[in-house]
Symmetry: C2
DNA sequence: CCTCGTCGGATTGCATGCAAAGTAGGGGTT
DNA sequence: AACCCCTACTTTGCATGCAATCCGACGAGG
């Protein structure tokens, strides 16, 4: 992992983490001076980072009125999963013939680690699952070696809730999700693209069900809160 | 078409046009002061524009070494068309039930206009085809009303050659391309998503053949030029 | 003759200052 | 009492200045 050299890139990464991690809620105002102070840089790199995040769709900028964390509707979220259900299985199939034994072992290690920290019990640590999951999927993207597909996927996924957390998974869905990772490793080991593609399709469908449900709950919650304040 | 209010957005649009239009060749160096002088602004909006174009993949930035227009290999170009051949037909099918009669008429007008300026003869104007083609496809994207799909497509297509020009079309391919537009209009009018999807699939396949051939020629040309100078 | 180190010019990265757009609040008028 | 306008404050947008980095060239040493 190469650490970004420039202040602007560090700012970009920091902001992305703040948004993806949920420290900045959707719709939250992003004042330039406030962020600059918080991150210990001047407004210039902050502006650059905000601009790039806007290009990625993570924040929304209105001229002369500043930036806010992007919001999204349930319909948009479902659209994202429509796309993922096409692109990620395709990408996974692409990765199969390119995976070397060392790559498979690495993915296997990640999948096993996820089983450990995700297993119900006193040692369960759902927060630890997030980086492992990202590492797993990012590794697959890299293996596929298909820049255009990777770019399209990145553009589609950026709405942040998608990657955010596993706290919303019920136990059965979580168990399925973890099993899928292991099964993808098995398909890679067997060199069977169709198998890998099928598992990834299930994986996305499972995630879709969880996320859409969570989004619906969150939306009704905020709607109620707005009614109360009004 | 709303004109951008801020200097940075105008700069962004201007640079995009310079690159997409081919005035700045792939690999060309993009000095900040040079561009600032050329566009009559200071370096700040230029930096912001370059940063965003980098996020889009149109330019490549190396820290402390400046920006260049992005380059791409034939393999990457083929990857882009792989994606388009999945995404655009899907998007077109999506657009069918949402197209209102007025929308269909608008697309029909664009298709007819393309036939006029694209027909062989003294009035042929291939340059005029470019904006019409963009308008046609952008209209379809808007009709589909699928933000995630649009974002993914935009991310995938950005390698500029894809949209650049029709100068490389041989006569038969050009005739096919124009006919496809009309046939898409017909499918929309008939309300037949499967038909529209099929035509768009052919349309992309046709474009792919032309573009890959052109890219191969261009690559060998530059290779030869490099040999000569070496 | 080739390699390595150093110096000068050019360019980027970032901070800061100033002007313009926007927002909120109070006072006056109808 | 409701509405509008005007003023003061906040925030963004852009230009500019300075320090740090990088590239090329020249010269010394092997």
């Amino acid at each position: 992992m190469t650490r970004p050299q420039t202040s602007a890139e560090r700012t970009l990464a920091a902001l992305r983490e703040l948004i993806m991690g949920g420290d900045l809620a959707p719709g939250a105002r992003l004042g330039e001076v406030e962020l600059a102070d918080r991150l210990g840089v001047s407004r210039t790199p902050v502006r650059e980072a905000l601009s790039r995040l806007a290009a990625e769709g993570l924040v929304e900028v209105v001229p002369n009125r500043g930036a806010r964390v992007a919001t999204w509707t349930v319909a948009e979220l479902e659209g994202v999963f429509d796309l993922r259900s096409v692109l990620e299985p395709q990408l996974t199939a692409h990765a199969v013939p390119r995976a070397r034994p060392a790559d498979v072992e690495e993915l296997d290690a990640l999948a096993r680690r996820m089983h450990e920290v995700g297993a119900p019990g006193p040692d369960q640590d759902l927060d630890a699952l997030v980086p492992l999951n990202r590492a797993f999927h990012d590794r697959l993207v890299a293996l596929a070696a298909h820049p255009a597909l990777a770019a399209a996927l990145a553009a589609a996924i950026h709405p942040p809730i998608v990657r955010r957390n596993f706290l919303t998974y019920d136990e059965a869905s979580l168990r399925r999700s973890l099993a899928h990772h292991s099964e993808i490793v098995a398909a890679l080991r067997a060199g069977d693209p169709a198998w890998a593609r099928a598992v990834m399709t299930s994986h996305i469908a499972n995630a879709r069900a969880v996320m859409v449900r969570a989004a619906r709950l969150q939306m009704t919650a905020t709607a109620i809160r707005q009614e109360e304040t009004a």
